[in-house]
């Protein structure tokens, strides 16, 4: 049990962090646009929906879900049901895209379809298909993480029994009567998450499409001129209308996901993976292309960072050089050095970790304690901690920016730590989602036994609880660091009017330089490579601490 004062303060701090910036932002937007919900939607309709923004957002998100499932389910099946050499490496490579910063994914696909790759970017059909494929690449690991643990550890006697019954004699019968009902909650939960991430996708839409907007990218672009009384009032209305629609759609998706997750089969008879899995050589036909698909955009980024275009009278040629790296890591008058961005990103990540980890832990512990005495309040707090999932990162960035401008504009522009507020808002819910299941699975008798041995609360916390939850703590920490370093949407909104920058934002800033400079693409890819390597290192270190049947949340 957590001290009630600690529990209350964690809830108050979190509420302030979540509600205050969003409240201040809404207050400022409403102050400019007036309180007229119908008017906001009408303005959004007039300016954007009529131009197909909502339609485009929904269509691309839906198609992304369809493609992600179509690619992900066969891969999860192969990984879950069969034995593979270097199994954990294969699994790591296939699930790695999810922890890649979205801007790295965008740069990877841009390189593949750009002039250093297939050179087909200028065609409209190409970028739309690329966007959907990039979303599938990004979210593939969700399907694998949700489905593979169920497939790999289900007691084989369940399938063996069905084979001896009339309805399970055929493969199709077993799929229909065993695997579909068993996997459906996991598949549906993965589909919901993919929909949420594709619906709010920002970096991929911003970089890959040729000016096409989703609700998210539209809000980010319009946001810079919002919040000023009497200036471009319609933009404030548009943001209010768009965030209202987005919030409603995301809330329904998240509620659906939460409901599905509760139904997931956590108490199925479990067996060792070695008992379940068999060899399957033909499976390579699926696993090998999947591996190439997973690593190709990342290899493309790395190679492209060393390829420099040279144009002369006879045409255009390319040569190998480190000039792109030198350009990225040298400050110019208009652009800070990538070193500065790296230092900022590391600083933000470490401070975010120092705040989000204890805060997330205290919230998770409070929910766990309440579950035993006041389950209804626990459920409300549980949903409340997921609230930032229903608010896109761009909206969080806008909230922090407009909120702080309302308090003190000068402070906002000069306060180096501003992005940390957004990063804490974004990462804390992930900490709760990782720590809470671990707390739930911790047998209370460990603590009770400590009590009967005369150990104080303090001793029990440090000698029993922390060591026993070490894996979840490390995974949460690494997740916070990776998410903070790769966060683009909120940072882009918060930092673009300030003197500081982060690695993802500087990639976008380098890209914004006119393309006649041959070092632009290699320099942007050089910074992307650095970000990719950091994410990769962090990801590999989490795998060691992941429980065998983690339910696949993150």
């Amino acid at each position: 049990m957590i001290n009630k004062y600690v529990a209350r303060s964690s809830v108050i701090i979190y509420s302030l962090l979540i509600i205050v910036p969003l409240w201040l932002a809404l207050d400022r937007l409403i102050w400019v646009a007036g309180y007229d919900v119908i008017g906001w939607i009408e303005s959004l309709e007039r300016n954007y929906i009529s131009q197909g923004v909502l339609e485009f957002t929904l269509i691309q998100a839906t198609l992304s879900v369809v493609l992600t499932l179509a690619l992900g389910i066969p891969i999860a099946w192969q990984l879950g049901r069969y034995k593979w050499p270097f199994q954990s490496l294969i699994k790591s490579l296939l699930t790695m895209p999810f922890v890649m910063p979205s801007i790295v994914a965008a740069m990877g696909f841009m390189t593949l379809i750009g002039e250093n790759g297939l050179d087909i970017r200028s065609e409209r059909d190409t970028w739309f298909a690329t966007l959907i494929i990039a979303h599938a690449w990004f979210n593939l690991s969700l399907v694998i993480r949700f489905c593979e643990p169920v497939l790999s550890t289900l007691d084989p006697s369940m399938e063996e029994q069905l084979r001896l019954l009339p309805s399970g004699r055929t493969k199709l019968g077993r799929i229909r009567h065993l695997w579909v009902p068993l996997l459906m909650p996991s598949i549906a939960a993965a589909a919901c998450m993919t929909f949420v991430f594709s619906f709010t996708s920002f970096a991929l839409v911003e970089l890959i499409t040729l000016g096409e907007d989703t609700l998210e990218s539209m809000m980010a672009n319009v946001g810079s001129s919002a919040g000023i009384k009497g200036v471009m009032v319609s933009k404030n209305e548009v943001i209010l209308g768009a965030s209202l629609i987005q919030f409603s759609i995301l809330l329904v998706s998240l509620w659906l996901m939460s409901w599905l997750q509760q139904r997931r089969q956590n108490l199925l008879p479990v067996a060792s993976e070695n008992v379940v899995k068999r060899n399957n050589i033909t499976g390579w036909l699926i696993v090998l292309p999947a591996l190439i698909f997973a690593i190709l955009p990342l290899i493309a980024i790395m190679i492209s960072s060393f390829r420099i275009r040279e144009t002369n009278s006879t045409g255009s040629t390319q040569y190998w050089s480190t000039e792109g790296w030198e350009y990225a890591f040298t400050a110019t008058k208009s652009l800070p050095s990538a070193w500065d961005a790296l230092q900022n990103s590391l600083g933000y990540a470490i401070i975010t970790l120092a705040i989000a980890l204890p805060l997330g832990w205290m919230l998770a512990q409070t929910i766990r304690d309440l579950e035993q005495v006041k389950p209804r309040i626990a459920r409300i707090l549980d949903v409340f901690t997921m609230l930032p999932f229903a608010v896109s990162s761009v909206m969080i960035g806008l909230g922090v920016m407009l909120g702080m401008i309302k308090i003190n504009p000068q402070f906002f522009y000069s306060f180096w730590l501003t992005p940390v507020i957004a990063h804490v808002m974004i990462t804390t819910p992930f900490v709760v989602r990782i720590i809470l299941p671990a707390l739930r699975s911790l047998d209370p008798s460990y603590d009770e036994c400590g009590q009967t041995l005369g150990m104080s609360k303090f001793k029990r916390f440090f000698l029993i609880k922390i060591p026993m939850l070490r894996g979840s703590i490390i995974i949460s920490s690494i997740f916070i660091l990776a998410m903070s370093m790769g966060e683009f949407g909120a940072s882009w909104v918060v930092t673009r009017n300030s003197d500081w920058t982060t690695l993802p934002v500087i990639i976008d800033s380098i890209r914004a330089i006119p393309y006649n400079n041959p070092l632009i693409v290699p320099a942007a890819n050089a910074v992307s490579t650095v970000l990719m390597m950091i994410a990769l290192l962090l990801f590999i270190s989490t795998e060691k601490f992941r429980p065998k049947r983690d339910g696949g949340m993150f």
Partner: protein, 196 residues
């Protein structure tokens, strides 16, 4: 000396009421009764893991009724041995006492040489012996045993019952055992109380 007076506890139904018991130094009492009659809850109330609805518990003339579990000085052996998997045998023992004689404690429960063993490799019987050694290292004023022999097969259980009883008697440590097994209760305890 442990004196329990008019203990009362109910959840959805009344588990026990008006339960009184006095336990002298070195005395071993067994409480028997069918499943669900409140035996485990009674032990949890005595050691402070659950709160009583009413009643009073005195330990060596000190009222411990509202003291937290960690301050009561009462040990508990759970039905299944609670061993911390992130610590080896010796480090598990250290939770009972930082500077005890661990070799002697292990020898007393027939686990000599087990200091560096991973607790995951211990059998059910070995786990219970280790839990007992750890509980005794904490020098409890009273030791409570919540069906500790039920998860062990019959042959081993018989030997463990004899061993644990003789250890407790040697140390003059009072103990309360709850069990649904009358044979074990008879062979382990000096007296048997039925909580039906």
């Amino acid at each position: 000396m442990l004196i329990c007076t008019k203990l009362e506890k109910s959840f959805d139904k009344e588990l026990f009421s008006n339960f009184s018991l006095s336990l002298n130094p070195g005395e071993i009492v067994a409480i028997t009764g069918p499943s669900g009659c409140g035996k485990t809850t009674l032990l949890r109330c005595i050691c402070g893991l659950e709160t009583l609805d009413s009643g009073q518990i005195l330990l060596d003339d000190i009222d411990i009724t509202s003291k937290p579990a960690e301050e009561r000085g009462i040990g508990l052996i759970f039905q299944k041995p609670v061993l911390y998997p992130h610590l080896n045998v010796e480090k598990n023992l250290k939770l009972g006492s930082k500077d005890g004689d661990f070799a002697a404690a292990l020898e007393e429960v027939n686990l000599s040489g087990f200091e560096t063993r991973d607790v995951a490799t211990l059998s059910g019987g070995e786990g219970q012996r280790l839990a007992l050694a750890r509980a005794l290292l904490a020098k409890p004023s009273v030791l409570l045993l919540d069906e500790p022999f039920s998860s062990i097969d019959a042959d081993l259980s018989e030997k463990l019952v004899r061993d644990v009883r003789s250890i407790l008697k040697e140390r003059n440590c009072p103990a309360i055992l709850v069990t649904h097994n009358i044979t074990i209760a008879d062979s382990f305890a000096d007296s048997v109380i039925s909580l039906a």
